[in-house]
């Protein structure tokens, strides 16, 4: 018997690579793991807005109610380590976060964020930025200004930027009927 699946189509993704973003900084430390971003007991949820209600539950309880559209997460090393759960970037996206600035990212989270149409940006001086400061990010010029001070951001690889510009991997892949693999390319 057919039943309606729990999974629902996501909202149309807004482009994360154009315009200027102004918001409050939510500052996190090193090794923020995906269990902290969204605890395991909420993984039956898939709607970003529903997930957002539980973002950082138990580890930073003011986030879920306080984060606003345009706010930025600024973190230390290895942001998003741990599980491959895509619920983590979705929870942040549902909370209005479009951009995460960190000293470095864990591999799977970085890909998941890009695939979800979010922009993970590497800033080696992220440690200087403090919680609650107001940040302005010029998405095209990739210039981050926090309380008047400018921070350099590492460039996003061109291929990944294409995915983010498309609105995520789904939008990028939707138009493709097939891909040329490294194997096919030789044949």
């Amino acid at each position: 018997m057919a039943r309606k699946p729990r999974v629902r189509a996501g909202r149309k993704v807004e482009q994360a690579t154009r315009g200027v973003l102004t918001g409050q900084v939510w500052r996190f430390g090193d090794d923020v793991d995906t269990d902290a971003i969204i605890p395991g007991r909420f993984l039956t949820l898939y709607d970003p807005r529903e997930l957002a209600k539980h973002a950082f539950e138990g580890t930073r309880d003011d986030f879920a109610g306080g984060a606003k559209e345009g706010d930025l997460i600024v973190a230390g090393r290895n942001f998003g380590c741990g599980s491959s759960r895509e619920h983590a970037p979705l929870a942040l996206k549902g909370a209005g976060i479009r951009v995460i600035v960190a000293e470095s990212f864990a591999r799977i989270f970085y890909r998941n964020a890009v695939n979800s149409g979010m922009l993970p940006l590497v800033c080696t001086a992220a440690r200087e930025i403090r919680d609650g400061q107001t940040a302005e990010l010029d998405l095209e010029g990739r210039i981050l200004t926090v309380d008047g001070k400018r921070y350099d951001l590492e460039p996003v690889p061109a291929f990944l930027r294409e995915i983010v510009d498309a609105g995520g991997l789904v939008e990028y892949a939707r138009g493709l009927s097939e891909v040329t693999t490294c194997r096919d390319a030789m044949m």
């Binding site: 039943r3 605890p39 007991r41 290895n78 380590c81 591999r107 799977i108 939707r174 490294c182």
Partner: protein, 416 residues
């Protein structure tokens, strides 16, 4: 310049020479989805316009995180995935078989030289059978389901050579915890870790799985052990393949080379809340524990349960704590059952549950309440990982877990 084993795997998949640093769209040999990440992967596949998966025979589906269904939403996810399997002709192993990674290995679905992806971070475990295997998110998996390929940046490799015999009651989990403590939680980000040396050869498949499983805890994309006679022997009857040579060239370029002497090692414990915060068991001995969990894809195999049974002997677990033992798969459960271990564990006071992820993912059962302390043979001790964010999780070997379960406090397994 020679090639690393990972470069060779990608060169094999691409049918041309590929070097670390290159970004390639590589065909995948197998793709695994489970009940937590699968529904979203299927949704993404459909949003991408997917109608038929690239090859139903190369897609492995099973449920292990929330089984038997622990909530109505979990049951709905299972129904949704079963329907997809039926529609697509995918073999669904459902909730009968055990933890995904163990089952993939048992069925020979990740063989030497293959590129395997799974929508779970511990997919890197299949490096134990000489595959390049890596965990991906659900959207990447949607892409794989549609196209049978994925972009990969061919990783550089850190070579870890381990020699020497383990002291009594010290084993693969202590080794990998010690390595994680040295390399750090992000020390291998975007890289592969190749495990070599006499100790890796001698520890057999179960230990290799434990080590490769935890490569991701150092940020690595993959862990891999060069296939040898033990690998091919393990694959016999699981996969019909003729053995071939797959090893790094002697002049391969490594990002870093490390060596370890297993005979130096004491039992290791990762203390809350970081996997790379690792100490000798003596430093935390005496810490009160409310729950011991023995199981998971990291340490739920027959060999792990045998270690527990050996430490336990004819004695009992402490009545002052909860002892939860979960074999990693139905096959491992049966082996332990036939060896008499399950009966021993139940007699000694443990709860033995059917194969699944159990408390490891903190979503199903066996959750910790505020202020509680657990010692676990699983792979992550993040804040809130096994329940309350105010609980603490220590990670250790099956031997240390057994000793701790017998006393109710963290205990050196050499002292019971």
């Amino acid at each position: 310049m020679g090639a690393t084993i990972v470069e060779k795997v990608f060169s094999r998949g691409c049918r041309r020479e590929v070097a670390a640093g290159e970004v390639v769209m590589a065909p995948v040999d197998a793709a695994m989805i489970h009940d937590i990440t699968g529904p979203l992967a299927i949704q993404k596949f459909r949003e991408m316009g997917g109608k038929r998966v690239f090859d139903p025979g190369k897609v492995i589906m099973l449920f292990d995180h929330q089984v038997p269904a622990d909530s109505i939403p979990a049951a709905q996810n299972h129904i949704f995935m079963r329907m997809f399997a039926e529609e697509q002709g995918i073999r669904n192993l459902d909730l009968n078989e055990g933890v995904c990674h163990q089952v993939v290995e048992e069925r020979g679905l990740a063989a030497p030289g293959e590129i395997v992806v799974g929508a779970d971070s511990h997919t890197c475990m299949y490096g134990a059978t000489g595959a390049f295997a890596t965990g991906i998110g659900s959207t990447d998996m949607g892409f794989v389901l549609k196209f049978g390929a994925l972009y990969f940046r061919v990783p550089e490799t850190i070579r870890v050579e381990v020699n020497g015999s383990f002291p009594d009651r010290v084993g693969p989990k202590d080794l990998i915890l010690s390595i994680a403590g040295d390399i750090g939680a992000d020390g291998a980000t975007y890289e592969a870790i190749e495990f070599t040396g006499g100790t890796m050869v001698g520890m057999g498949m179960a230990g290799r799985m434990t080590c490769c499983n935890m490569a991701v805890e150092m940020g690595a994309k993959a862990g891999i052990v060069p296939p040898d006679t033990i690998t091919w022997e393990y694959l016999k009857g699981r996969r019909n393949l003729d053995p071939f040579d797959l090893a790094a060239d002697p002049d391969a370029a490594y990002l870093e080379e490390r060596s370890y002497d297993a005979s130096d090692l004491a039992p290791q414990v990762a203390v809350p809340h970081n996997v790379d915060h690792v100490v000798d068991v003596g430093e935390v001995a005496g810490t009160h524990v409310d729950q011991v969990f023995i199981g998971s894809c990291t340490n739920g195999r027959f060999e792990d349960l045998k270690e527990v049974a050996d430490v336990l002997g004819k004695r009992k677990f402490s009545e002052g704590l909860r002892v939860i033992i979960i074999p990693a798969s139905r096959a491992e459960y049966l082996k332990a059952l036939r060896a008499g271990y399950i009966e021993r564990f139940v007699e000694a006071g443990a709860l033995v549950e059917a194969p699944c992820c159990g408390p490891c993912m903190g979503g199903a059962f066996g959750l910790l309440g505020p202020g509680e302390v657990s010692l676990s043979t699983s792979n992550r001790n993040f804040k809130g990982r096994q329940g309350s964010a105010d609980a603490k999780v220590y990670l250790a070997s099956p031997a240390t877990a057994a000793a701790t379960a017998m006393t109710g406090e963290i205990t050196d397994p050499r002292e019971v």
